[in-house]
Subunit: 339 residues, 2 copies
């Protein structure tokens, strides 16, 4: 039914080993040009497609990269995944997507599964700051690229946005609008982004000459609208009440907007809100959200490029940081002014 290398070899009247060499650009020079032509023609005529299972078994390379993401339904990830797939695909590699659903057990099982399938490496968007599984993988010599996250141990390569720069831009924007009481609804502190943005926020407050006492940080436990909503309720009951909120990410910012509606308040009149990531469709929301745009597609693409280079033996670790940009929309306004 399916055509194998032996079929091609038979048709071209050569030994299968020779056919293999002729079809592989790296070894092609070992075969006479005429013979190569004959073999290539035979392969085309038969519609030969190499069996990657057999190939992978022999070469111990599957040309396959596992991609661990916490939740594909989070609009942040599709553009990233597309970036990964494009780069990987161009290099004739395949991305194996694994949605961990933010569940460590599920992640364990998926990784075992992907390892069984002999993935060459992993691009990991689920990294926590401490992450035993990743350490084990790294110990076993599995190539790893952290995406959007960095590890507390700099041994793992990573590709991220320049969160600190983004946060500084955002706080500067708010300060320029006259805001002095700015709250930060921090993301989970066991994630590097949550931690980093938190620190960057404090840093920005200092650098811009704001008063830390006026700029409270409210910790959230997840990157979700729900966490944003409850965090916002907490922020709204503070005295004095903040006039602006920097959310840990866009979903949390959307939750803040929900909380405002519930409290009968208005954004940006009563509270300016800034998100993080600029996930798709944000510009079409009831209140188009001001946010810090991270180059999602590019982060994905760059992480795939890095993975390919690592698979080719590039010395590690490498840390790539891509610039962010503040996108101003309708959810921020000058203090005390109608939006």
């Amino acid at each position: 039914m399916t055509v194998t290398l032996a079929d091609v070899a038979r048709r071209a009247r050569v030994h299968p080993g020779t056919a293999s060499k002729a079809l592989n650009p790296a070894t092609r020079h070992r075969v006479a040009p005429d013979t190569v032509r004959r073999i290539v023609r035979a392969a085309q005529a038969l519609g030969y497609e190499p069996n990657s299972l057999a190939r992978g078994l022999r070469t111990r390379r599957s040309r396959t990269v596992g991609v661990l993401i916490p939740d594909l339904a989070n609009p942040l990830f599709p553009p990233i995944v597309r970036g990964i797939e494009q780069v990987l695909g161009a290099a004739d590699h395949l991305a194996l997507l694994a949605d961990t659903d933010n569940d460590a057990d599920r992640e364990e099982r998926l990784v075992a599964m992907l390892l069984g399938r002999r993935s060459d490496g992993f691009i990991v968007a689920t990294a926590r700051r401490e992450h035993p599984l990743l350490d084990r993988l790294a110990d076993a010599g599995t190539p790893l690229v952290l995406l959007n996250r960095v590890s507390d141990h700099p041994r793992h390569s990573s590709v991220t946005g320049d969160d600190a720069e983004g946060v500084l831009d955002a706080v500067r924007h708010l300060a320029a609008l006259g805001h002095r009481r700015i709250a930060h609804l921090a993301g989970p502190q066991d994630l590097s982004t949550g931690h980093l943005r938190h620190r960057a926020f404090l840093d920005a407050v200092d650098r811009l000459g704001l008063d830390r006492g006026d700029c409270p940080v409210l910790p959230g436990t997840t990157y979700s609208t729900e966490a944003g909503r409850s965090g916002a309720h907490a922020a709204l009951s503070l005295h004095p009440r903040p006039t602006a909120v920097l959310a840990g990410n866009d979903l949390m910012a959307l939750g803040v907007l929900d909380a405002l509606t519930e409290a009968g308040l208005h954004c940006p009149r009563d509270l300016s809100v800034i998100g993080f990531n600029d996930m798709p469709m944000l510009d079409r929301m009831a209140t188009p959200l001001t946010t810090i745009r991270t180059p999602q597609h590019e982060i994905g693409a760059e992480s795939a490029r890095l993975m390919l280079r690592i698979l080719d033996g590039l010395p590690e670790p490498l840390h790539i940081r891509l610039p962010c940009r503040l996108i101003v929309r309708a959810s921020t306004a000058a203090v005390g002014q109608p939006g």
Copy 2:
């Protein structure tokens, strides 16, 4: 480095073949219970994980299903993909995602790649009504499940929403609001959904006693906001102007809203708009969209279940249709009334 079946066998003092039989529930009965225990313990102690490349090579089954989607960044698909992954994962299968980007050449290449990786079957969300590639796959005996689409040749199994029912509900809703001049911005007619919803629209017009002459159908070439926008401009220049539009899908409906804004008109005051699919975040839009909800997660899950059954030898083809539901939001209102 990696532990193989031979390692396990050595530790348990049996032949590798015996170890294989003991580890496989289906052949376990050929090995004495004590020996099984010994082998299982050895496998656990060593952390044995079977090499699926070798296994697949031998068994000609990769426990892997290719999933062809047109565009992962379209918010419609992530929930579907999650549904697929969940069901497949529970059966210890893996989904290989391939984003065709609506490009037939790219699709060809990806399918060749997936076939090379010996995918056991394909779940296809990119099907056009005429689709030579699919016919070729089917001819070659590759298990196929069409998702969200049906083929004009009923030979291919499929899982879809009950579009006709949804369209009827939508038109009935508009008619109940007093609309008599309802336009349909049809999706691409070479896609079954576009075709089917178009026919269902005409059907609904007839059944609800509306006048076909008052209910024009404007064809769109793609399922995009851009197509919706230009289609809406065309609709708005009609005399008499329609009071309601049923869009081919949600993205087109969003395009209609854009066109309204551009024309200085208001939804729903000047035009009621209905989408299709209820993709995520629609409820948070500037104008929360009335739409027909298709059970996306369930469609994905069901297509995966169907695929697994087909791989187990279920006779084909089977066509599964899942119910839709109209979700009324703020983009529809009674004729001539403010929203």
